[in-house]
Symmetry: none
Subunit: 201 residues, 4 copies
DNA sequence: CATGAATGAGAATTCATTCAT
DNA sequence: TATGAATGAATTCTCATTCAT
């Protein structure tokens, strides 16, 4: 079904396909290897067990997304508000362009299995930390009102934009990028102007 | 372990216990009958199959809750705002008093299995419709501004209060009724006064 | 292959057959159920897992042997020397008559698997204790020299006869009862007379 | 992990380690190559299959032991009794110094697998024969009583000393060479003097 | 020599469901 | 009603061995 080279990749592709459409336990390793056109043993040659495969996929998903996002993110933008807005827009577009990754991540986050829960949490937090460190790097802090605590300002700003994005996601899950992204951009812009008024000198 | 009478009930109790703690596929029929202290066959005597049992429980859960709520709901209250507020409070209190039912419903709503998804959706919509029909019965519409479309007014009001309740639920999942319910009551009251100003003559 | 009734017994018989001829890990549950003519699931309906089946068989083997032996053992015999000799003879005859049980027990005792080792040890010690308690019940101690510690006397006697039996077993494993048992009887008798001279008044 | 040179040796060392600690079937070829730090294929390049590796190790074990023993054995000693005693002492010391080899040989002798049983038996008998031929070479037969059949005399002597050594082995498995070997030496000496009285002129 | 990808039969175990009693 | 024996397909995972590079 797939090209001969790199059957490991064939397994990964097949697994992404299956796991993004069904919850963990509904996908059998048989399904995956059959669909990938490889032997039963090969899956366990490359991945210790089903769980490891699942977690590896999760890692891969975020790596793909973050690579995509941070290759495009303009770090010469020194305004935190704009830079964070750009980050959200890029990430949202990326998720909408990679439907499979996006659905897969949703499935992982619905999973309640203790082991998987634990693994994905630590990984998720780690990826977030790395991303946020980059976003807050070399920010022009000169514009901020000196009478406000900078960390608090950051927090409130980030939380607000995240919330706005969450709400937008819920409403635009199945819509095309062209139609829905501008909506998000406008909403984010609205709040950014609000924050500029509130937090800038 | 349970009384001889009504082994069907023993099965239901045990099933509620298991299904509220674990997702559908993680609970085996063996677990249920063992815990209920009945034979394997009896489960399938009373319930066509595992899925039917699950859906039956879901029905039962909502029936219990709605019976509880509407027995207490004061339908002589002709103000929609107050009546809906009362409904929300009663329902929230009921869910907090029946932790098992509450957790079970959450589990059902996380389930992605096609058949179960379909069945629970139709049932959920049906229960909601019945409830809302009662709530909107014999409302004093004389107080509303005649220049506003009544259906729109209703919608916005209901949506707002539902949203407020959702947020409250997220934050007070594990807290006791005595502590958290007054918080909800106050929040709801705040928005009701807002709507009275906006929508009443 | 077997009669319809009591498929559990069919499994046990088949398992005894297989496990007495091959070590634990070489016998697959497939072999057992195929030979027993039952479905795969039935084995796990009756026995939690392969290990439990194995241990159950071990229990069964000793129960069978001890029942056989103690039904025939003459407890009116008050002379410890004779009674213990009778016990050894009966047990040895029993083991030679039940080749399968005998071989099975040997296989179990060769097994090095941690779990099985532990289980069989506790069970073995327990069976031994029960047996020895019966053997030492109501013994006429009046014949023994009062200047010798009775427990020491017992110990030395038992150890000696056990050792003699072990040596005989090694040499007569594959021989018929008629030929080999008299050899053992004679050897035991020889030592008993030795002990009578040494330990009796 | 190991030096580059002679990866075959690395496999052998690792295999000895694994096979001396666990029975044949419990050791996987993966374990061996992982521990040896070599590739899967190399094991099957050097050894036809797992069984061949096992038998090769068995050969190697005895070769090592016999080389060690016969390099030290004083063949100028013309007294059979002393020479055989020396042989036993040297072999026992050697086995105690090479715990891994010793444990490995025990494991092999516990193995019941038909093929392995057959191979190890022929090899074991062969090694014994070679050893005994050397031991009985150039013995001064002039000291023996001419009225006794020499072969019978040899047999009884060898069997006795072997038996004494077996019993000693059972009791001193886990003890140090310094403590336990002198015990064996004394016991052997005792029987040798007995045989001198009985079999010499 | 050396690698490690690839195979596929076979292992133990699970589980919803049926059915004779 | 009530039991629990019986089924058998499906699941995850193991492992010796082969082979192209």
């Amino acid at each position: 079904m797939k090209k001969d080279k790199n059957l490991r990749h064939a397994i990964i592709l097949s697994a992404f396909k299956q796991f993004s459409a069904q919850p963990y336990h509904k996908v059998s390793t048989n399904q995956i290897v059959d669909d990938a056109g490889v032997s039963k043993g090969l899956l366990f040659h490359y991945f210790k067990d089903k769980k490891t495969l699942y977690i590896t996929l999760y890692d891969l998903a975020w790596k793909t997304i973050f690579k995509d996002v941070f290759e495009q993110l303009d770090l010469s933008q020194k305004c935190l508000f704009r830079r964070f807005r750009d980050y959200i827009i890029l990430k949202s577009r990326c998720l909408q362009n990679h439907k499979t990754l996006s659905l897969f991540i949703k499935q992982v986050h619905l999973n309640q299995d203790a082991d998987i829960l634990k693994e994905r949490s630590t990984r998720y937090l780690n990826y977030q930390e790395v991303a946020y460190r980059k976003i807050f790097e070399n920010i022009d802090t000169g514009l901020f009102r000196p009478d406000l605590n900078l960390q608090d300002t950051y927090k409130i700003f980030v939380w607000t934009l995240q919330r706005v994005t969450n709400e937008w996601e819920k409403q635009h899950t199945n819509q095309s990028v062209e139609h829905s992204l501008p909506v998000l951009e406008r909403e984010l812009e609205y709040y950014i102007q609000f924050f500029e008024k509130a937090f800038y000198l």
